[in-house]
């Protein structure tokens, strides 16, 4: 891609003198169709498993004003039962741990450290609730990509470069490693070899920040998980404290 950009001015000046040899050089496909197919296959597979559990360890770079990057990590435990049950426990090395509960009717955000919780009415499906809760309350569900891969052809259209890197073993699991480029991010994914093409790891590099901070996540799947429906409904304990949750559009007034 970068090579192609460099060549654009050449084309402009070369005009009619452009030779086939030059054209051939730029014709090297940035997108390997096989890599796209693998992504589509993974997306389709993710869509096909209705109930699953995932344990994930992720890291994210925080960028200080000085440009120094600081890596933070958390552990995430996710339970999903399509179309309308989702539970996430996010544990950090500090007290900012959170639990999210969604049961098709209500969404609860719970802070186990402080015992604060807030429950609000929620849209009827996971897909809708992800978008709605984020837009309305600024709360991003962890590992949102897992629910989104395979849903929207535009995601594939956004890919500007795609290539296979090679086979790779992660935590004993044989995977294939692919690399993609999109507007603002480069990303890599390690997809399990075999009949269950699940994402085992992915790394997202933010390329429109000068420091190019990264987000990484390793995933352990449990597709045999059979969570009880009750798992997805928050029931406050005696000493839990209900607090208000403020929509983003009401926040500015408090400045």
């Amino acid at each position: 891609m970068r090579a192609m950009q460099r060549l654009i001015p050449v084309f402009a000046f070369a005009g009619l003198l452009l030779t086939p040899a030059v054209a051939k050089e730029t014709a090297t496909p940035a997108i390997d169709p096989a890599a796209i197919q693998v992504l589509e296959r993974m997306g389709a597979y993710l869509r096909s498993i209705n109930t699953f559990g995932v344990r994930a360890s992720d890291t994210i770079d925080e960028v200080l004003d000085t440009g120094q990057k600081i890596q933070m990590s958390s552990d995430i435990q996710l339970l999903v039962k399509r179309p309308n049950f989702l539970r996430a426990n996010i544990e950090t090395d500090r007290a900012a741990s959170r639990q999210l509960f969604y049961n098709g009717k209500t969404f609860t955000l719970f802070s186990p450290g402080k015992k604060f919780y807030a429950t609000v009415p929620a849209k009827p499906t996971i897909g809708e609730v992800l978008t709605n809760i984020e837009a309305k309350y600024g709360i991003a569900f962890p590992l949102a990509d897992l629910y989104r891969w395979g849903n929207d052809p535009d995601d594939i259209a956004a890919i500007k470069a795609a290539r296979f890197i090679g086979a790779s073993k992660i935590d004993g699991q044989l995977t294939n490693h692919y690399a993609f480029r999109q507007e603002g991010i480069d990303w890599q994914i390690w997809i399990a070899q075999g009949d269950a093409p699940l994402p085992i790891k992915y790394v997202i590099t933010t390329t429109d920040e000068p420091e190019q901070p990264q987000y990484t996540v390793n995933l352990k799947w449990d597709t045999a998980s059979k969570p009880d429906d009750a798992t997805f409904t928050f029931v406050p304990a005696e000493d839990d404290i209900a607090i208000a949750i403020v929509p983003l559009d009401e926040v500015k007034s408090t400045k």
Partner: protein
């Protein structure tokens, strides 16, 4: 995600002074994207700087302020402009829910200026507060100042309110 370095320092490295949490999409400056799907990253800036009166520059060496909580005088929150207290608040509260992940709200540090002004917001309570339930609402009473906790962008904020009773 970008956080003001002074804030991080204040926070004893990683203890970003707020209850901001992973899902929170606030924070100042840059961001580390966590999704390859554009709609997921799309709203990242929505609640940036919920509380904008951050005193970012005053604290460069604050790591040494660890455990300063003894210095904090709860009731003196009325005295405005005491930036020193601001930092000590955060340092002490090892319990603070922090967002060291999606963005930590560089915003959280704002305390000192505003402590007693109704409607002002802090992310970390002074020490020695008690929970007081009045009707359906749970307040934090810290000396003569009352706070009502609430979630904003997934983080816990405390808003100064008038005495509820």
């Amino acid at each position: 995600m970008r956080i003001a370095s002074a804030v991080l320092v204040t926070a004893n490295f990683g203890l970003i002074p707020s209850d901001a949490w992973a899902g929170n999409r606030g924070g100042g400056g840059g961001h580390t994207k966590t999704s390859v799907h554009k709609d997921v990253n799309a709203n990242r800036n929505k609640n940036v700087n919920v509380n904008s009166n951050v005193n970012r520059n005053q604290n460069v060496n604050v790591n040494s302020n660890r455990n300063v909580n003894k210095n904090v005088n709860v009731n003196s929150n009325r005295n405005v402009n005491r930036n020193v207290n601001v930092n000590s608040h955060h340092d002490i509260d090892i319990d603070v829910d922090v967002d060291r992940r999606y963005h930590p709200v560089a915003t959280g540090v704002a305390v000192g200026m505003t402590a007693a002004a109704i409607g002002s917001v802090i992310y970390t309570l002074p020490p020695s507060c008690t929970i007081v339930r009045v009707g359906a609402v749970s307040y934090q009473q810290c000396g003569s100042v009352w706070y009502e906790p609430r979630y904003v962008a997934g983080s816990v904020q405390y808003v100064v309110v008038g005495p509820p009773r």
